[in-house]
Structures are given as structure tokens and as C-alpha cells.
Amino acid sequence: MTDVLNRPATTGTGHANFGRLMTGEWTKLRTVRSTVYSFAALIVSVIGFTALFTFLTVQQWSQMNAGDRAQAQLDPVPQILGSGLFLGQLAICVLGVLVATSEYSTGMIRSTLLASPHRLRTLAAKCVVFTIPVLVVGEVLSFASYSIGKAILSSKIHTSLSDPHVTRAVVGEGLYLGVLGLFALAIGQLIRHTAGAITTVIALVLVLVPLAGLLPGSIGKHVSAYLPTNAGQQIMQIFPKDQILTAWQGFGVFALWTAVLLALASWLLVRQDA
């Protein structure tokens, strides 16, 4: 016992730095099962639903009316990208929330803040380390699901990355998932309780948009356009759904929502007891 205690433990330089915090956060992220499960759910649902929906479109082609066929041929990209994303994005929402709330539900936050008492730096490291894999997986998935959808639809519908705005839309899906992950993380950090935070994120992502649609006339249209995920999904459209926000403006609005929530979460993290 005495032996081990007498041996010098460290050979490091003794400087706290951001790289070390990121290495540590990466270890935390990859060593819990929820990360693996969430990414698996994301991949399976995005690829699976894209394949299923595009396959059904081809199967039902002869029963579709002429107007629907024309619409599908004119603008197939949102259908290809959207069918997998609609459910798949929830996996990222859940993981983003868990990355923040599991610290509190398990008490790990105390170990984290003892090792790394600079709370803003710690949160920043967590955000970077979580967002990078989501972005990478998101981009790969986006291109993969587009290619699969395109291949399945090829007998009825033609689409190509070289068509106007298609590459932007496909790249955009990956970017959207990256920001969505941060959006969920910020809400998790704000609320600190897993169930409450997941409910809130799902309400914001899935429930709020149809709800805003019930508002009358142009008020409803404007409110709806500026809602976080609705604005963010503009980047996956070839033809803007409404004329209120362009693709990048919409994405900017989504990023702004996320930045405001993160700022709020940071402010609370620094002020509140752990």
C-alpha cells in the first residue's frame, strides 16, 4: 500500500487544457450504452424509413393521382430526406438530453466538476465532443439515405446531386442533426431532469409546429416559420415551403435558438449549485 502511494503518480505537464477536457468528455460519451443505442437507432431509422417510404412510393406509383406524381417528380428530395429524418432525429434529441441530464441523475456531475471546475470550459468541451460525432454520422447518413432513396426511386423519378440546391439540402440534413443535438443538450442542461427534458424537446420538435399551424392566417405562418426545427429544416428544402425564410436564413434562426438556449444553460450552470 505504502509502495503505491509513494510512487509519483504523474508525469504530465500540470496545465489544465481544453484538449484534455475534450479527451475526457469523449471517454465519458463512448463508455455508456445510451450513446451506442442512440446512434444505432438513428442509423436504423434514417436508412430504414427512407428505404421503406421510397419503396412504397414506387409500389403505389400506379395508384397515385397525376398531381401527386408530378409533385413527387418535381421535388423528390424533401421526401427522400424527410421520411427517415422525421423519427430518426428523435434519437439525437434523446442522446443530446442524456449527455447533459445523466450527469445530474447519476451524480457524475460532482466528479466532473471536481476534475474540471471551470464550468463554462467543461460545458464547451462537452458540446464540441458531442457535436462532432453527430455531425460526422449525420453527414454520412444523409448522403447514404439520399443515395438509397435515389436508387429505389430511379425507375420513376430522377434526382441528382448536381441538380440545383440538392447538394446543399443533403449536406444540410447533417448540419441540421448537428445543431439539433446541441439544441437538445442545451435543454437537458437547463432542465437537468431526463424525463422533463426529453418531453420538452419532443414537444418543441414535433408538437409545436402543427400547433402553430392552427393559428389563423399569416400569424400562424410567421410563427411556424420561426419555430426552431421548422426553421432549421428549411435547409433541406429545394423550393422553400413558404416565402418567409430562405434555406440559410432558416438554418440561422435554428442556430440562434440553440445559441440562446446554450447561453441560458451556461449562465445557470455557473450560478447554480452542482
Binding site: 503505491v4 508525469t11 484534455r20 463508455t31 451524480g107 471536481l114 471546475p117 450560478r271
Partner: protein, 321 residues
């Protein structure tokens, strides 16, 4: 090395209307074991959390080596802490938990196995901590505290949940750490536990300082010393001692417990009366008794009992310096 490892000054923590820590000031000197005593709810854990920067104080300061915790470079290299509350993700393995800590401080992986060996968790290193017993959890907490070879250890109720073997292990570990020149600041509500380990005690009640003194002085000051006397002429001796103002308690085995008189004086009384003594041994008050005395004082100070004898009850804060 600074003269003071921990310096707490006028520390206050309020939660709404409740004051958990109330203008608390004390210091922890290097190279010894300082016990931090108080009944449950006295504010020990809160004070430790304030020292470690986990909670924000309402007022006052708590410094380690003259710095706030958050200003320490690679804090785990200076301070190893074991908190009372859980601080581990149950879905992560013991090894990976320590790996995270090691990476943030720039400590090599080989050190993880060293501390796992030290606490006897090497065989379950790759198991999720979900299945750990309370005792294993405490051992992992100790491993985390020792991981970066800190000079100061802050341990909140380290013997909680440990079996007798584990308790002895923690005691010996703390002594070894202190012998190596490390500072150990350890809280407990078990007074006898501290009596066998601590060199110095800081006692708090209701968030306020009651005593800050060496263990020996603490016991001498707060517990009445008694003398155990055996004599074939116990009855006569008791009479003679009462005559000089001593208080006598008869014990079932025929011996006497004498209060209020030194052993030497008892010997003199016996000699003067020609009484034979078979045993004359001063009994040192245990820390438990001393603590009960203090707690009693605290309670009586705040809620005087009508009709209680008004003698010799030290007021709260009398021992505080």
C-alpha cells in the same frame, strides 16, 4: 508548502430560510488528520462542498492553499475528495470512470491500475459500477481521490457502508497518508471512529463552530475524568472520599468510579485512613462522551429544559476560538 491547507473564513450557506453553514471559520493544518465532527445535519457535507467549489457560498470564503478550488491547476493533483453522495455513472465501468478523471488531469493510464490494486478493485475494473456494493463504491471513491497523488484529502464519511474489515482498512490508510505528510480532512458523525484516527478536531453543530482543538485537549476539556478504584475496604474508602467532596459511583463488581478528585488525592486519602488499594486507574473520557456533552450543551442552549439542574453546561461557542 503554505502554512494552511484549508482556510475557511466566515463561511455562510443559506438555502431559503435554512442556514446550513453559519459564519464558520477554521483552518486545517498540513500533515495531520483533522476530524470534522458534528451530528447529522450539522452542515459538514455542505461545508465540504463549499470548500470543493461545488456549491456557491452565500458569504465568506473557503480556500485551499490560499486559492479557491476553481483556481487550482489540475485540481485532482492537489485535492482528492470522497463525497458522501454518489458521484459515479452506474453504467460506466470502474476503469472508465477513473480513465475520465486521469485524462482530465494528464495522469498516465498505468496509475489507474495502481490505485485499483490499492483499493482491491482490480478484478472488477471492467465491470459496470451498477453492480457494486456500498463498500465497493466507497473503495472506488477512494481510488478516485488517490488517483492523482494529492497532498490533501477531503473525505466525507468514508467509513459509511463499510464492513469492519473495511473500516480498519480506511483507518490504516488515513494514518499511512498522514505519515507520508499528506493532510487528511475527514468528516464523521461517529465520534469513536475519530478518536482512533484524528489528531485534531473541528466540531460543528447547526452550521456553527463548537470546537477547534487537538484531540487530546478536546477530550480533556469536554469530558469529566473519572478514576477507577478497587479496594477490599471499598465502603470505608467511599465514605472518606465523600467527606472530601468526591462523587462516588458503586459498580456491580465492587469497584468504585470516583469523579471530581485526582488519582493522587484519592491515594492520599486512602493512605491517611490506612485503606489498602488494589487498583487506582484514571479513566480517560472517550470522544463519544465528549461529543454527547457538546451536543447536549447545544441542545440545552437552544431549548432550556425547565427544572434541569443549571450546573456546568458550557454554552455553545465557549470552546470556539
Amino acid at each position: 508548502m503554505g502554512a494552511r491547507m484549508i482556510e475557511v473564513k466566515q463561511l455562510v450557506k443559506r438555502y431559503g430560510d435554512t442556514t446550513a453553514v453559519d459564519h464558520l471559520s477554521f483552518t486545517v493544518e498540513p500533515g495531520r488528520i483533522t476530524g470534522f465532527l458534528g451530528p447529522n445535519g450539522a452542515g459538514k457535507s455542505t461545508t465540504m462542498r463549499l470548500i470543493l467549489g461545488l456549491d456557491r457560498p452565500t458569504g465568506g470564503t473557503a480556500l485551499i492553499d490560499g486559492k479557491a478550488y476553481k483556481d487550482l491547476t489540475d485540481p485532482l493533483r492537489s485535492v482528492g475528495a470522497l463525497l458522501e453522495a454518489r458521484a459515479v455513472h452506474p453504467g460506466r465501468t470502474a476503469f472508465n470512470h477513473l480513465l475520465y478523471l486521469a485524462q482530465t488531469q494528464g495522469v498516465p493510464k498505468s496509475r489507474i491500475y495502481e490505485v485499483l490494486d490499492l483499493v482491491g478493485l482490480r478484478e472488477v475494473a471492467k465491470k459496470r459500477t451498477k453492480g457494486f456494493s456500498l463498500g465497493m463504491g466507497q473503495r472506488l471513491g477512494i481510488a478516485a481521490a488517490l488517483l492523482c497523488d494529492p497532498r490533501l484529502l477531503i473525505l466525507d464519511e468514508p467509513v459509511n457502508g463499510l464492513d469492519p474489515e473495511g473500516i480498519v482498512w480506511i483507518r490504516n490508510l488515513m494514518k499511512t497518508l498522514a505519515e507520508q505528510g499528506r493532510t487528511v480532512f475527514v468528516s464523521s458523525h461517529l465520534m469513536n471512529e475519530m478518536a482512533v484516527t484524528a489528531d485534531h478536531v473541528v466540531v460543528i453543530g447547526r452550521g456553527r463552530l463548537i470546537a477547534d482543538t487537538s484531540m487530546e485537549e478536546f477530550i480533556a476539556r469536554y469530558s469529566e475524568n473519572t478514576v477507577l478504584v478497587r479496594s477490599p475496604q471499598a465502603g470505608k474508602l467511599a465514605e472518606s472520599l465523600r467527606a472530601v467532596g468526591a462523587q462516588i459511583t458503586d459498580r456491580p463488581d465492587g469497584s468504585l468510579l470516583v469523579n471530581g478528585t485526582e488519582a493522587a488525592a484519592i491515594g492520599e486519602v486512602a493512605a491517611a485512613n490506612g485503606i489498602v488499594l488494589h487498583e487506582l486507574s484514571p479513566q480517560h473520557g472517550s470522544l463519544e462522551e465528549a461529543f454527547m456533552e457538546l451536543t447536549k450543551a447545544d441542545v440545552q442552549f437552544h431549548a432550556p429544559t425547565p427544572g434541569a439542574p443549571g450546573d456546568a453546561v458550557p454554552a455553545v461557542g465557549e470552546g470556539a476560538r
